[in-house]
Amino acid sequence: MLETLTGIDLKEKLLADYSLQKSALLLDNPMIASFRENAANAFRKQGFPSKKHEEYRYIAMDKFLRKDYNHPLSASSPTIEKLPESILVDSEAYRLVMVNGFFAPSLSLVPEGIEGFTAGSLAEAIRNKNVTALTHIGTLSNPDADPFLALNSAMFADGIFIHLAKNIVVEKPIQIIQLTTSDEPIFIQPRVLVVVEDGAQVTLIGLTPETQEKQDIFINTVTEVHCGKNAIVHLVQAYDHKDVSAVHHTEAHVHTNGNFSHYAIHLNGRLVRNNLNIVLADSHCEAHLFGYYHPTSDQIFDSHTLVDHRMPHCESNELYKGVVDGNGTAIFNGKVYVRQDAQKTNAYQSNKNILLSEEATVNTKPQLEIYADDVKCSHGSSTGVLDPEQMFYLRSRGITTPKARALLLNAYAGEILEKLPSEKLRNTLTELLLEKYSA
């Protein structure tokens, strides 16, 4: 049985919504309707994954699925009136705010009247029959490949749509902020569609920050990124919300000379599962994958990444690092495929872990599959503890153990954080981490 039992109840409940909520799901659009139908069938077949599911074997998903999850299919009037200043990386930069998965115009700052640059609600784009949105949605992802992907495809009700036409360069980072507010447990499913046409450039900073309410929140997000020829895209996905269980499926396709960088930063969450698939679809593409995770207490942070080298002369470079404390669990599964046509590929992958407690767990599995013969590839993983010699050196200068640990951990995380495409974000995350070290 690949499905979980608690999951079956929730599955039935969600699928019942699927049949009833036709207008919320934009099913009057025939394209969307057929895409949804296909996805709903795929989800019906797969159900929520149990530990017998090869790709979810380390997660007892039952723990995170509640049959009493409410599944909002329309925007509630936002109870949040103002964004906390601390989460803004630039108060003048564009920001796209979602509340419970629904685009919140009153909290957002969107481009208006800029030729070739659209950013805002995905549902609205679909309702307005935006051609770019309709021709791109769902084209990168196959719902049979993953149950959460299938479920989101069947049932997302809103999210974000960003479109940059040819050669449009957005200088300042665009923030995508996922806020949650609820007095009951909720299951929400935002969808993010990013279309960056040839020669365009953009930096997107996604963040799910801590909010006041203490409710179980499940966020099942799908992000699709089309990175055109010569385009440059940076995408940060940061989670820092203790009551959130998140599965985030990201699909990116990169075209000739395109350059895609992804940053997965997992600081807090009950569960954060990062499914990241990057396809280097043409030649001379680059992909950079950086990850930093820091599970403590019972947190589970899991990254399953895939870089698919399909064509020659591409480069991919992956570095995921983590610190695991308390009863925390970190999982890293990194696949790199180098297909037969992908000669002259450079592919590097590295995963490093530090365990801070006896109860902490790391499962790391790098998988390199190479079918081309003229390539340079390497991968490696390591799991260790803080270097006792370094600790002693610091302590011998009068630095107490917690401070010495913080210095070393900060240096360790720094290797990832310094790669982030925003200095303000780097500083904010560094401070959040320092709190975590001294906890």
């Binding site: 270097d387 010699e389 370094q390 002693f392 050196y393 610091l394 302590r395 011998s396 200068r397 009068g398 630095i399 107490t400 153990t401 401070k403 010495a404 210095l407 070393l408 900060n410 240096a411 360790y412 720094g414 290797e415």
Partner: protein, 251 residues
Amino acid sequence: MLSIKNLHARVAEKEILKGFNLDVKPGEVHAIMGPNGSGKSTLASVLAGREDYEVTSGEIIFEGKNLLELAPEDRAREGIFLAFQYPVEIPGVSITNFLKTAMNEQREYRGLSPIEPKEFLQMMKEKKALVEIDTNLTNRSVNEGFSGGEKKRNEIFQMAMLDPKLAILDETDSGLDIDALRIVATGVTQLKRPDNACIVITHYQRLLDFIVPDFVHVLFEGKIVKSGTKELALELEEKGYDWIRKEVASL
């Protein structure tokens, strides 16, 4: 200031120090010499509080306190400083951040407020000049990619910044060319005051031409077998450690 009595210590089940005694008073410089493996670094490690070294008997009193009961960081905050024989590299931690943290942790212990950034920078500048260390080096991560000599100089620089009561220099002279040796020694000499003291561990007498010791002790197989004044160092240089070996054997 420091009184070590009948110290026995072991590491990895092996007894290294076997009844070590030493008294150090304020203002004094003690040199400890001895062949490789005689236990010099073990002594330094025990004084600094390295955890894999187990003291099986004896006592160490520093400024009236039982040193053996203190954690390494508290020993440092009480005024002990060890210049390591093999300083460790700490990538990603800048010397400036490291020293500021160390200094403020020590100040906190003494009930002082954190140092003013301006005062800290001024102090960095002064002490850098003292050990002739350049800014390029202090902007880097602690010891990362430093040459052997740069590491040793960085130890003395930290000592100058932290201003300890008792400094223990473990073979700070090894691996230094004559210029570096002179710089290190000048640094140490300039930091000497009537109220602080220094234990200079060395293999050769070379360093003692620059840092003139009040006492010279010979450590052999875990205890001091001979003590004297600076002339003893010269004698050792001339006759080698075999001389000591024979003398000990004849006892």
